[in-house]
Symmetry: C2
């Protein structure tokens, strides 16, 4: 008999169906037993005679039975199929499960992060945890759809890179045959190179960063959403494309994941027709006026400043999202385009939302001579940029782009407390699936 | 004035347009100069007065002018816009280009692979080379679309993995804070874990393999397309899903990339309604009968066997594609499902096409006890499989899956001679963008 997905039982009242899934919970009432059966589409109550039901939590079973409408007073409003139940006629075990290390039956698994991650294969089966990554799937997929609609080309960014022009301690080095290569921290240089070949490009890629901190915001491996495009008139074209993209993504999440948002008591950020954009110095002035905190000489916003300017944006502009532009030249990468009217500041921006950074972007320098000059001024070795510089040496239009972290966007849409919750298999300095402290130390030769 | 894409000039005869792009070629005929202008949509001929045209190859320019229909005898059948040309009124330089290291004006860049890769930012601008990755984009995107239509969940597979249960010399080790981790060679274990949470999953991911060979088929970094799903009845369900997926992909390439296929004088492989599937031993018997080559005891097909059986499939079955099933148990990974009627052989398969392997797949062991037993028999340390084994310990349905290499599929559709041509930035033991031999050796301490 062909399998029916659980959500489709709603349309099969009175019919015989064959279901398959996991025993989410089992309640034994003597002669009669209730099983909440779970498959990828939902949960439904199965009712069976005691004798046929020697199954336990997380066992995988097939159930043949008849879909019945529940009496009004027995409808369960907490599950989508709460109007019906399935009267089991036959139950077949596909796979047994060992006794669980903790109760999986509750909608919220309050186990603490270490246990949630130590038992990831199991805790991902919890419907609420499971659905975090359905939001992430839509975040990533809608990013792609948004840019495909604008004629962008999707490329696969490399993980191995030859040398790190800008240096920095937070790069992973990999012994590579007789040599040594690095792991990519960003496809920035590649996406710019590809503007020379495809004009408009985007990439869903891995950012690998030797982040030596255990904050709630940092992982060593994240999935980044990058876009870059040419033939712009100014950085405002980049802001506009970034704005279109984030709106597209948030609209997709709202439209396609309404039930999940409800589960988390979350809403997508409010935004206005044109998301407000102010300069860093303006933001600092506003913060000074509102709080008396004088960070007007600082080259960046502190976390408390980010929260304050988001508060201001919501109160004064009705937008949870706000662009901050014109960060100081010396705090941005060498390829960032300077404001011709004030070269100490760049035509770059961050998008802040709900008190923290969501995206960074801006216009880049497309003139080969200026790019070379800026690299040298910043002690970036042009020899390590050879491939990158080629793209500009042989004709590059005015261009710019932007970059999101998919985990951060997911985290901030759902209001998660820790970015680890927004990663299927989070990696940090202490954990790569297992806790690294449990591993033997590598022998010296290899390290 | 708003930019018109070059391909749209065809619908704007008699109108004034503003174009922007690169100078593909320039032909100076004294008072009159012809420029082939290239943007992401195509190439068009621009005609201008000599004086206004001090531009060179790969310069980025904006052209304002009027679209004219060409006289019948001057139509250029080699470009899509060959019916028209644009009479330039104004040309503005957006970016100059240095003198090119080679002539980029020819449709085919016969420079040899080393030069093609040494100048990747430039050679990717060649329309034919450029279009290889549009095929690859459709290969990858149609893989996603095919599986989304079957209710599969897309996940992001990790790059860092804790330990390599199956060992093998071809894994990259990475110093990781005080420890050591590895780079993923396959999301196999993760996709199986996720069947326990999502039932049907797929992933576009990076496979990183310390491949110490310089063949035309191997890279150290490739983009792999992986799928896995539960609640199957047998390995035939896996074959069916794999077959559906490859057909979907090939149909998409044929439908969406007809012009590119033509450029390469390529066609997608012929396939039949049901792609033939035979057992390895049957294939070897057929090869023996056809060629007298007796490899009937071998555990795998040799390259010449793969070519021969593909030849047979096309001649006898009318299909460029053929599944070979029932590889010997000892040659497949420990998790491969054995044929209950003959446990020396597995319910796994490869898909061969045009003489070589395209995909590998099969049913997996979903019973925890058997999986554990098989791991031990094969000297796979269960302690290194802890997270993976959890997924099976706590209830896993019968399941299976398959895996493609996106570069291989692209290569074999277009008939490219070397897999490096099917990678935007190919990495092998000798090259990571630049030739590694040009780098200083790392100091001993780090290696």
């Amino acid at each position: 008999m062909e399998r029916t997905l659980i959500k489709d039982t709603l349309t099969k009242i009175g019919e015989k169906v064959s279901l398959a899934g996991w025993v989410n919970t089992k309640r034994d009432h003597g002669k009669i037993t209730f099983i909440d059966l779970r498959d990828r589409s939902g949960i439904v109550q199965v009712v069976g005679q005691g004798s046929s039901l020697s199954v336990g939590a997380e066992w995988v079973i097939e159930v043949e039975g008849v879909v019945k409408k529940r009496p009004e007073n027995l409808v369960n409003p907490n599950i989508e199929t709460g109007m019906v139940e399935v009267e089991a006629q036959d139950i077949r075990v596909l796979s047994k499960a060992a006794e669980l290390p903790f109760d999986m039956g509750k909608p919220d698994l309050d186990l603490g992060l270490p246990t949630l991650l130590d038992f990831r294969p199991l805790t991902l089966r919890n419907q609420k945890i499971n659905s975090i990554f359905k939001i992430q799937e839509v975040v990533i997929d809608s990013f792609r759809r948004a840019l495909k609609e604008k004629d962008f080309f999707e490329f696969q960014a490399p993980v191995f890179i030859p040398e790190v022009a800008e240096g920095g301690a937070e790069v992973f080095k990999v012994p590579y045959f007789d040599h040594e290569v690095y792991l990519s921290q960003s496809p920035q240089l590649y996406k710019q190179i590809l503007v020379g070949a495809y004009e408009r490009v985007f990439s869903v890629n891995k950012t690998l960063r030797a982040e030596p901190s255990m904050t709630t915001r940092h992982l060593t491996e994240v999935t980044t959403l990058d876009a870059e495009f040419g033939f712009i008139d100014s950085y405002l074209d980049v802001k506009e494309m970034a704005e279109y993209t984030i709106k597209y993504m948030l609209n997709a999440v709202e439209k396609e994941c309404g039930d999940i948002l409800k589960k988390f008591n979350a809403t997508v950020p409010k935004f206005t027709d044109s998301i407000p954009m102010i300069k860093l110095r303006e933001a600092q002035e506003i913060i000074f006026k509102r709080t008396g905190r004088d960070n007007r000489q600082e080259p960046d916003l502190q976390p408390e400043d980010e929260r304050e300017i988001c508060k201001w944006s919501l109160e004064e502009k009705g937008s949870d999202l706000i662009f901050i532009s014109h960060y100081p030249t010396k705090k941005r990468p060498f390829y960032t385009y300077q404001d011709p009217e004030d070269p100490d500041y760049t035509m770059s921006f961050d998008l802040l939302g709900r008190g923290t950074e969501w995206m960074t972007g801006g216009r880049r320098i497309n003139d080969y001579d200026i790019l070379l000059k800026m690299a040298k001024e910043r002690d970036v070795d042009p020899k390590k940029l050879e491939l990158y510089l080629q793209a500009f040496k042989f004709g590059m239009p005015p261009e710019g782009g932007f970059s999101f972290g998919s985990e951060r966007v997911t985290m901030h849409i759902l209001g998660l407390a820790n970015i680890r919750e927004a990663s299927l298999f989070p990696r940090d300095m202490e954990r790569v699936d297992i806790r690294l402290s449990l591993l033997e130390k590598p022998n010296k030769k290899v390290k």
